[in-house]
């Protein structure tokens, strides 16, 4: 296995241009060519750093371009779901709409409220966007192309993305605005709650795969894990859409209740960065879901990178569909859903998977399909039983009678 760094010709070209190749006659990264680089001997690490940074910058920019495309796609599709057209004036089919948005945001006044904590207020948007970009480090985009294949890949993803809560709370707190504060508090409550079922739903896959590495998870999928772990998929998509503050769970920025939540006081490109992070999070989560549940880059005929992109945008479409369909929940409903519905279900899923792996340690394909049947049954029964319990009166908190 070679990573995106070593396998990339651009990286190799830059590295070999810079690094001194004296004495490196064997089949190294530069192959058989014996040519003196621009840098003196002993500075190979500088060459590696520059070449690697180039690749990373390329990747991040490609990702941001995709996010631009995604924002356009989301607006167009939401429009179609609303029986509208969506933005179609800027450029051909409105394709330049994200550019227009960016130009507009960049030319806006950059306001900082008088009562704000300046430093924290300015750091928050950066802290929001960095985790999204960090996830790219461990994502396998295609066959043999990833920046790093670390053995705790999925753990890294979960750890890094949970930093969002901090950024939102910082933004909400530092704004010195009560609505922003409410948004920040809600963000912390919601994100910390939903972290638990999301992590536990991933545990089932990790038990089955026996590895936390994203690449080995993809390679272990003889049949897509969306079939093998349907309950986990449901929990993951519900939990992650809550973590991204998307529609059924967008209480953090509920415009009908608290103006815009934690980014009420933000304007200009800081606001733009929050938005960028949110839209980027959708793409990244879709990519993680593709890796975990939909067989990653694997697919017939088409090249692997294209398959990966297609799957990512398929999940993005589902996210947009969910956003267009489901109405916003109440705060107590959101917390109930996390702790009384998703949390027990994820533990059941984990337990069932553990027992299955214990019984069939090296499952044949027939046994695998048998596991699929069992897990489907568990998913349906679990969801129905828990929604029955969930909707019973004693479980959810009694509705307070409105006093006249």
């Amino acid at each position: 296995m070679e990573s995106l760094l070593e396998g990339n010709s651009l990286f190799r070209w830059t590295y070999c241009l810079l690094a001194a190749n004296e004495g490196n006659s064997g089949p190294g990264p530069c192959g058989e060519t014996l040519r003196n680089g621009l840098l003196p001997a002993g500075f190979e690490w500088v060459a590696f750093l520059i070449a690697g940074l180039g690749i990373v910058m390329l990747l991040i920019n490609a990702f941001l371009l995709l996010v631009m495309l995604y924002t356009y796609m989301e607006r167009r599709l939401i429009g179609r779901f609303h029986n509208r057209v969506g933005p179609n004036r800027t450029g051909p089919f409105g394709l330049l709409q994200p550019v227009a948005d960016a130009i507009k945001l960049l030319t806006k006044e950059d306001l900082v409220p008088a009562g704000a904590d300046r430093l924290v207020f300015n750091i928050a948007p950066v802290l929001m966007i960095v985790p999204v970009l960090l996830v790219l480090a461990v994502l396998p985009f295609g066959e043999n192309s990833f920046l790093a294949n670390i053995n705790v890949g999925i753990l890294f993803v979960l750890a890094v993305t949970s930093m969002n809560a901090l950024a939102m709370f910082m933004g909400g707190w530092a704004s010195g605005n009560r609505f922003a504060m409410f948004g920040g508090m809600r963000a912390v409550a919601q994100l910390v709650s939903y972290e638990v079922p999301v992590v536990l739903s991933v545990v089932g896959i990790v038990i089955y795969t026996g590895s936390l590495s994203m690449v080995s998870i993809v390679e272990a999928q003889r049949i897509p894990f969306i079939l093998l772990q349907p309950l986990a998929f449901f929990i993951f998509i519900a939990g992650s859409s809550a973590e991204m503050n998307r529609s059924p769970f967008d209480l953090v920025e509920a415009e009908s209740e608290i103006v815009a939540g934690y980014h009420t006081e933000y304007s200009g490109m800081k606001f733009g960065m929050f938005q960028l992070a949110e839209f980027g999070a959708v793409l990244v989560t879709s990519a993680v879901m593709t890796t975990l549940f939909l067989d990653g880059w694997n697919g017939p005929v088409l090249p692997s990178h294209l398959w990966f992109l297609l799957k990512v945008f398929f999940f993005a479409f589902i996210m947009i569909w969910i956003r267009a369909t489901l109405p916003r929940l109440r705060m107590d409903q959101v917390m109930d859903f996390a702790w009384k519905f998703l949390f027990p279900l994820s533990i059941i899923n984990m337990f069932v998977t553990a027992v299955e792996v214990l019984v069939w340690n090296e499952p044949t394909l027939v046994q695998l399909w048998f596991m699929v049947g069992i897990n489907m049954l568990v998913a349906i029964v679990g969801v129905v039983v828990f929604s029955l319990i969930f909707s019973r009166k004693g479980i959810s908190p009694p509705r307070r009678k409105m006093s006249v």
Binding site: G79, R80, F81, N83, W321, T325, L326, V384
Partner: protein
């Protein structure tokens, strides 16, 4: 059964997704307006106007301004009042059409357009000069004589002042002073 409501909701949005958009892309395509549409730009026929200022009197907002002076011709020879100023401030107009109802000589009509947007409030005042040169597409609102003829201001060519009156157009085509002379002759002792 649990989840059925959720699935139904998703199906509804998916059905809408594949439907044709409801949006009318305005500058390229327009909705068809009724002939009685009370448009923003008024249609005024100076030839028919006597300067009586009924419209100004009946306007509930008082936004029609008329300044007249007697013409040099004698009234019996076909002379009316000459109109110096005829301003309609459509910035404050509510398009009730009372001025059109009040006009005894069918000189004022509602317009048929709706694209009078301006950057300035004072540009919203329609002056006599503008009304004189404007293309006459009068709305058929409160003008049954136009409607009976099946006139559609959105499609048909502009109409001249002889064709829009309640009375026979021949009345206008024959010279008025001559008729008055006949009348005078008949009534002479």
């Amino acid at each position: 059964m649990y989840g059925i409501g959720l699935a139904k909701g998703f199906l509804v949005t998916l059905k809408v997704f594949f439907r044709k958009p409801f949006t009318v892309q305005y500058p390229e395509e327009r909705l068809v307006q009724h002939p009685r549409f009370r448009g923003e730009e008024f249609v005024w026929y100076e030839e028919r106007c006597t300067g009586c200022a009924s419209c100004a009197k009946y306007c509930p907002l008082g936004i029609i301004k008329i300044v007249t002076h007697p013409s040099d011709e004698k009234p019996l020879e076909g002379g009316f009042y000459d109109i110096d100023v005829f301003d309609i401030d459509i910035g404050r107009c509510m398009f009730c059409g009372l001025c059109v109802e009040a006009c005894p000589y069918d000189a004022l009509f509602m317009g048929s357009g709706f694209e009078e947007g301006q950057y300035n409030r004072r540009d919203l005042v329609i002056s006599a000069d503008r009304l004189r040169v404007a293309e006459k597409h009068p709305s058929t609102w409160y003008r049954p004589q136009l409607e009976e003829r099946g006139y559609n201001p959105h499609k048909d060519p502009p109409v001249s002042w002889e064709q829009v009156g309640r009375e026979n157009s021949l009345t206008h085509l024959s010279s008025r002073p001559a008729k008055i002379q006949e009348y005078d002759k008949r009534n002479q002792p």
